[in-house]
Symmetry: C2
Subunit: 288 residues, 2 copies
């Protein structure tokens, strides 16, 4: 395990997350190598100064790296982990940025003993995707979850924490199960709600197209996540299915409770509930 | 009915919407009179240059006005309409900015024949409320629904359209029923979803407070409306109850459909549905 400042870091996948990570790491480690299948992604990443070198093959990019970070959709990460076991060198810290962690950590468990695996999930992003949307400041101020395995050495965890710090984020260490349960509610549920809202407005607009015209900032923000990258989201939903279904079920109950207060015309009950929720939401907004 | 440029306009209620309207109208009509019960609201509105004159009594503010605009919560509007019948002068155009229109228009029907009633609903706002949040540019570029009654004269409608234009908004004329049905889906449903999401995250955080720490930009935007002013929202929900319950029911079905695709592991079905919704949402985002 090599200290980050002296390490060659390979970032696999040059989309929004990978491109941004390259930009944030460049100059803070020995070399940033970008790995992407599409030649145009590498050219753009080089042109925008997000990487030092580009490679189109996993072996060429990751073989001589001290740290490898997988920034691809979750199910691609699962396949690449299986491949990388025979590619990376001994002592390599093998991280990922996948939005679900249970299956990733399970797959990491199969890696050769000489490899140091470390799950990661930066809690940032935007609905735009691709290298075009990448920016070196994307990680600044975000919470970056690390999910080490029992086998992961303290030195490897330190390298992971160093990387998180260098890109301006705040490391939070927890196990993969707990991570997946929490993000199902705070992250995957909002996506499902944004999609359901968009579907409801689209159905209403089929009867009366003026619906789209009346949709304003409330619809804009509440539905924003429905514009997220579909390949990424399908992988997330399918690799966190049980927890997402639980979160959707819980939220449905909350929605039903609110609807019941309205249906009953229980004005004081409704007001009290909405006040408490307003307080929760504004308290969260005020947190440091 | 007097042309807007020569009219004295009374804005009743100096919160976010009324204060902003005053600021947008000032200098574009003979006088902007702000009416508010709280002395501090009037002082702030005067201090920030949002009104020309302030009055604390409805009669003093609205009695000599050519145009009166009610910018209070919907059920306060209903009460003030009943009072204003004996206060306003003949030919006065009596408008409101309430977020639901069916009950408002019903109450307007009871006004003396010499009064010209015109329902209005500007599709803008923000979750911050109060005169502190007011800004003269709030209405720029927004859709501003007008719901005239059968008795409303073409001259009065023209005054209303003139006001909409002067504050930088785009007038859309429709009947109150249709308005209420459409906004239930595009505006009140997003509020209900934001509240349900906040409730789900709060419940999850009771078991594991780290939930609040992991909540990021996805939660922030999807839950933003839960911080809306509760008095305003309770009035909206209670005066549009049937349509809101229908919209919540429709959205719940959409959510159940998505959950079923996920539960069944129907990857192609899920992907196709999410792609179509992404296309709807991005097409809306690109509209002029």
């Amino acid at each position: 395990v090599k200290r980050l400042a002296k390490a060659r870091v390979a970032v696999v996948g040059l989309g929004l997350m990978g491109g941004s990570l390259g930009g944030a790491l460049r100059g803070r480690c020995a070399e940033v190598v970008g790995v992407a299948r599409r030649r145009e992604s590498i050219e753009q990443a080089l042109g925008r100064g997000l990487i030092d070198r580009g490679e189109r093959e996993l072996a060429a990019g990751a073989g001589d790296a001290d740290v490898v970070v997988l920034a691809t959709p979750v199910r691609v990460i699962l396949r690449q982990l299986a491949e990388l076991g025979t590619i990376v060198k001994a002592g390599c810290v093998l991280m990922d940025l996948g939005s679900t962690k249970r299956q990733v950590v399970q797959e990491m468990q199969e890696l050769p003993a000489a490899v140091q695996p470390l799950g990661g999930h930066p809690m940032c992003g935007k609905e735009a995707s691709g290298i075009e949307a990448a920016e070196a400041t994307l990680y600044e101020g975000c919470t970056f979850v690390l999910t080490p395995l029992e086998r992961t050495s303290p030195e490897a965890i330190a390298v992971g924490k160093g990387l998180v710090e260098v890109v301006g984020a705040r490391a939070v260490v927890m196990d993969a199960e707990r991570h997946d349960r929490l993000v199902a509610t705070v992250s995957h549920l909002p996506y499902a709600l944004a999609c359901a809202l968009t579907a409801a407005v689209a159905a209403s607009a089929e009867e009366d197209p003026t619906a789209w015209e009346l949709a304003a900032s409330g619809f804009r923000d509440t539905s924003r996540l429905a514009a997220s990258d579909v390949t990424m989201m399908v992988d997330i939903l399918l690799t966190n299915r049980a927890a997402v279904l639980d979160a959707v079920g819980d939220c449905r109950k909350e929605l039903d409770d609110l609807a019941r207060l309205l249906e009953d015309g229980d004005e004081e009950g409704l007001r009290g509930r909405l006040r408490a929720l307003r307080e929760s939401r504004t308290a969260w907004g005020r947190r440091p």
